[in-house]
C-alpha cells in the first residue's frame, strides 16, 4: 500500500505538486492522468524519492520513505520510463540484471531470474540474452524495460509513460501484456500517462491532475460518470463517455438467455467492441461464447443500457 499524505513540491516560486493526498491499495493499479506540466511525473518521482517533497510524506506499507537512504528504497521499487532508458552499452541480460547486481545476488540466481523474466515477456532467452538494446525493435525494448523494472521482484512498480514511444498496435498489445502480468504477480503499479484511454484500460483507480492538484482520484466508472470538475470532464471527452463506459464492461457479463444467430462474440471482448460488431454486422443480437461454448447472447439493447450515464 502506498500512502501519499499531503505531498507538496515547490521549485522556487512554482508549486509543481500541491498538497496531494491519495492511497493506492496493494495489488492495484493507479493511473495518473494529466496534461504535460500538470505535476504527474513529479508526483510519481516523489514516491521513490527521485524528487524529495517540500512538505508532506509518502508511506509504503506504513513506513515513511525517508527512513532509509533513497538508493536502498529505490532498489525495492521497480522503475520504468518512457523510451525505456535501457543502457545502450549493456546486453539485454545485463540490463535486466541491474537491480539484482546492485543487491549482490549470486550469479546463478541472477542468470535464472533473467531467463525467467525473458520467458515471461515472450522473448526467447537463448536468442535475446546476449543482444544489445539497439538490436531490438521498439516493442522488444519496451518489454525488456519492464522486465528490468520487475527483476528483483518489487512489490511496487512505478511507470512514467511506459508506452509513450510505441506505435498504436504494439501499444495495445503491450498494455494487455502488462495487465496480464500485473494480475499474475499482484504488483502494485502507479502509472503516469497523458492518455485517458490507457488510464481507463489499465487503472483500478484514476487520478486526474491539473496544475499540481489532484482533482479527482476514483475508479474509472466514477471518473466517467461523475467527473469532479469541468477539466476532468474535458479530459474524459464528453462525446466519448458512453464508449469509455462500455470499454470497461466485458460482454460476457451482459449476456442474457435470448437466442441469436450469426458468428459468436467471445465473452472477454469489451462491451464496446461487441457493440461495434453488432453495428457493423447490422444485427440486434449476437451469441456469446466462452472457450468456444455458447453461453447466451448479448443484445444491442443491453449494450446501450450499459452505455447510458447516470440520470
Amino acid at each position: 500500500m502506498i500512502e501519499i499524505d499531503a505531498v507538496t513540491k515547490v521549485y522556487g516560486e512554482a508549486t509543481v505538486v500541491d498538497a496531494v493526498t491519495a492511497t493506492v491499495p496493494s495489488g492495484s493499479v493507479a493511473a495518473i492522468v494529466g496534461t504535460s506540466g500538470s505535476g504527474k511525473s513529479t508526483l510519481l518521482r516523489m514516491i521513490n524519492r527521485l524528487v524529495d517533497p517540500t512538505s508532506g510524506a509518502v508511506r509504503i506499507d506504513g513506513r515513511d520513505t525517508r527512513e532509509e537512504p533513497p538508493h536502498v528504497l529505490r532498489r525495492r521499487i521497480g522503475y520504468v520510463i518512457q523510451g525505456n532508458g535501457l543502457f545502450p552499452h549493456r546486453t539485454v541480460a545485463q540490463n535486466i540484471a541491474t537491480v539484482p547486481v546492485l543487491l549482490d545476488w549470486d550469479k546463478r540466481r541472477i542468470a535464472a531470474r533473467v531467463d525467467e523474466l525473458l520467458e515471461l515477456f515472450q522473448l526467447d532467452p537463448a536468442e535475446f540474452r546476449g543482444r544489445m538494446p539497439h538490436e531490438l525493435s521498439g516493442g522488444q525494448q519496451q518489454r525488456v524495460g519492464v522486465a528490468r523494472g520487475l527483476a528483483a521482484g518489487p512489490n511496487i512498480l512505478l511507470m512514467d509513460e511506459p508506452f509513450g514511444a510505441l506505435d498504436p498496435i504494439i501499444r495495445a498489445k503491450a498494455q494487455d501484456d502488462l495487465a496480464a502480468i500485473q494480475k499474475r504477480l499482484g504488483t502494485t503499479i502507479v502509472l503516469v500517462t497523458h492518455d485517458m484511454e490507457e488510464a481507463i484500460g489499465l487503472g483500478d483507480a484514476i487520478g486526474v491532475m491539473d496544475e499540481g492538484r489532484l482533482l479527482q482520484f476514483a475508479p474509472p466508472e466514477e471518473i466517467i460518470a461523475r467527473p469532479a470538475s469541468p477539466f476532468v470532464e474535458r479530459l474524459v471527452g464528453a462525446a466519448d463517455r458512453p464508449f469509455r463506459l462500455l470499454s470497461l464492461a466485458r460482454c460476457g457479463d451482459l449476456a442474457g438467455p435470448s437466442a441469436a444467430s450469426g458468428p459468436a462474440i467471445d465473452a472477454d471482448t469489451s462491451a464496446r467492441d461487441a457493440l461495434a460488431d453488432l453495428l457493423w454486422s447490422a444485427r440486434d443480437a449476437a451469441p456469446v461464447a466462452r472457450d468456444g461454448v455458447i453461453v447466451g447472447s448479448v443484445t444491442r439493447e443491453a449494450l446501450e443500457a450499459k452505455a447510458a450515464g447516470p440520470r
Binding site: H71, L73, R75, Y79, I81, N84, L86, F87, H134, G145
Partner: protein, 398 residues
C-alpha cells in the same frame, strides 16, 4: 557514334579518381625534381642529383620501373588488396633506394660529404603514402587490424634503420655523432608529452565531471581554458618563466623538485595548460551525450551517484573522452619541440640547433622522429576510440 560516346564514358569511369593525382605526383617526383642532393659538407647548399645519377643505370632503371608500375596500378580500377600490396612494395623500394643513393653518391674516403633525400624523394614519398593510406581506407580494416599494421610498419622501419641501409644518409650521420644525446632528448620528449597528458587526464576528467554536474562552474572554467588555448605557445612558454622562477626562489623545496624558471618544469606546465581544454571539454561533451533516460533509469533503479558515474556515464562517454586524449597527445608531441627554446629538452633541441647552424639534416633529425611519434599516436588512439565505440554500441537509444 553511340558506341563512341559509351566508350568515352567507360574509359573515364575506368580511371581511378585519386589514382590520377597520385600518378601525377609520382611523375613529378621521379622526373622533374632531384631525387637526392649531394654536398661537400653539412653546411653548404646541396647539388641536385636525378634518380639515375643517384642510383646508377641499373638501380635507377629498376626504381623507375617500380614507380611506373605503382602509378599504373593507382590509375587503373584495381582491387584494394592489390593496391595495398603495390603501394607497400613501392614504398619499401623507395626507402631502400634512398639508402642506396647515399652509398652510391658518397665518394670513398670522404667523411665530410653529405647525401640527403631531395625534393623528388619527398614528393614520391608523399604520393606513395597517399596511395597507401587510400588503399588501407578502401580495405576498411578493423581497429585491431590497423594496430597490427602499425606494429608491422614500425618494425619494418626499425629493421631498415638497424640494417645499416641508411648509414650513408646525412640524417644518420648527424645521428651517429650524437646518438646518446638523441636518445636522452627522445626520452625527455616522451616524458614531456606523456607527462603533461597524464596530468591533464588525472585532473581534467574530474573537472569535466564537476562541470557536468554543476553548470555554475562550467562556463567560467571552460572560458578560462579557452583563453589559455588562444595564447601563442612560444608566448606561454615565455610567460611561465617569471612565475616559476619566483616559485623556485621563494617556496622551500621547490628547487629540489626540479622547479625553475627555465627547463622542463615550465615546459611541462605549459603543455599541461594546453592539454586541459580538450580533456575537460571532451569529458563534458561526452557526459552530456549520455542518454538522459539511461541516467534517469540508473538513479531510479537505485544506483548511487558513484555507481551511476562508473557503470553508466563513464563507459558511454569514453569514446568522446578518448577522442580528446588523442587530440592532446598528437598536439603535445608536436608542441613539445618548442620546450627546447626554454631549456626543456626534447627533439626540439636538434631542430633549434639545426636552425642555428643552418644544418637542414640536423633539423630533420629532430623533426622526423617527432612526426613519426605523432603519427603512431594518432593511428593508435584512433583505433582505441573505435574499439571503445564498439563496446558502447555506437547507436544510442533515443
Amino acid at each position: 557514334m553511340r558506341s563512341g560516346r559509351d566508350g568515352a564514358v567507360l574509359s573515364a569511369r575506368r580511371l581511378d579518381k585519386l589514382g590520377v593525382p597520385i600518378a601525377g605526383l609520382v611523375a613529378i617526383g621521379a622526373g622533374l625534381s632531384p631525387f637526392a642532393t649531394f654536398s661537400a659538407n653539412r653546411i653548404v647548399l646541396g647539388e641536385p642529383r636525378s634518380i639515375f645519377e643517384a642510383l646508377g643505370a641499373v638501380g635507377g632503371g629498376l626504381t623507375l620501373v617500380g614507380l611506373t608500375t605503382a602509378a599504373l596500378v593507382a590509375v587503373l580500377p584495381t582491387r584494394p588488396l592489390l593496391r595495398l600490396a603495390v603501394s607497400v612494395s613501392a614504398t619499401a623500394v623507395l626507402m631502400v633506394m634512398i639508402g642506396r643513393a647515399g652509398t652510391h653518391l658518397t665518394p670513398p674516403d670522404v667523411t665530410l660529404a653529405r647525401v640527403s633525400p631531395g625534393s623528388g624523394f619527398w614528393v614520391l614519398l608523399f604520393a606513395l603514402a597517399l596511395f597507401l593510406t587510400d588503399s588501407l581506407t578502401r580495405l576498411r580494416l578493423s581497429p585491431v587490424q590497423r594496430l597490427v599494421g602499425l606494429a608491422l610498419a614500425v618494425t619494418a622501419m626499425a629493421v631498415l634503420l638497424g640494417s645499416g641501409a641508411w648509414d650513408d644518409l646525412s640524417i644518420l650521420k648527424e645521428y651517429d655523432s650524437r646518438a646518446p644525446e638523441f636518445w636522452r632528448e627522445g626520452r625527455r620528449h616522451v616524458v614531456l608529452a606523456l607527462g603533461s597528458l597524464g596530468l591533464a587526464v588525472i585532473t581534467g576528467v574530474p573537472l569535466g565531471v564537476a562541470c557536468n554536474q554543476s553548470p555554475r562552474i562550467r562556463v567560467p572554467l571552460l572560458t578560462g581554458l579557452n583563453f589559455i588555448q588562444t595564447i601563442p605557445s612560444i608566448a606561454l612558454f615565455g610567460l611561465l618563466i617569471a612565475p616559476l622562477a619566483w616559485v623556485a626562489a621563494s617556496v622551500p623545496g621547490a628547487q629540489d623538485l626540479g622547479i625553475s624558471g627555465i627547463g622542463a618544469a615550465p615546459a611541462l606546465v605549459a603543455l599541461y595548460a594546453y592539454s586541459l581544454l580538450p580533456v575537460v571539454s571532451n569529458t563534458v561533451v561526452g557526459l552530456d551525450g549520455v542518454s538522459r533516460q539511461a541516467v534517469d533509469a540508473a538513479s531510479g533503479m537505485g544506483m548511487t551517484a558513484r555507481q551511476k558515474l562508473l557503470r553508466i556515464e563513464a563507459p558511454l562517454a569514453l569514446p568522446v573522452i578518448l577522442a580528446g586524449v588523442r587530440i592532446v597527445l598528437v598536439q603535445n608531441i608536436g608542441l613539445a619541440t618548442i620546450a627546447a627554446l626554454i631549456g626543456g629538452g626534447g627533439f626540439g633541441v636538434f631542430v633549434f640547433q639545426g636552425m642555428g647552424q643552418t644544418a637542414t639534416d640536423l633539423i630533420l633529425l629532430g623533426a622526423l622522429p617527432t612526426v613519426m611519434m605523432a603519427f603512431v599516436a594518432a593511428v593508435g588512439l584512433d583505433a582505441a576510440v573505435e574499439l571503445s565505440e564498439r563496446r558502447g554500441a555506437g547507436k544510442r537509444t533515443p
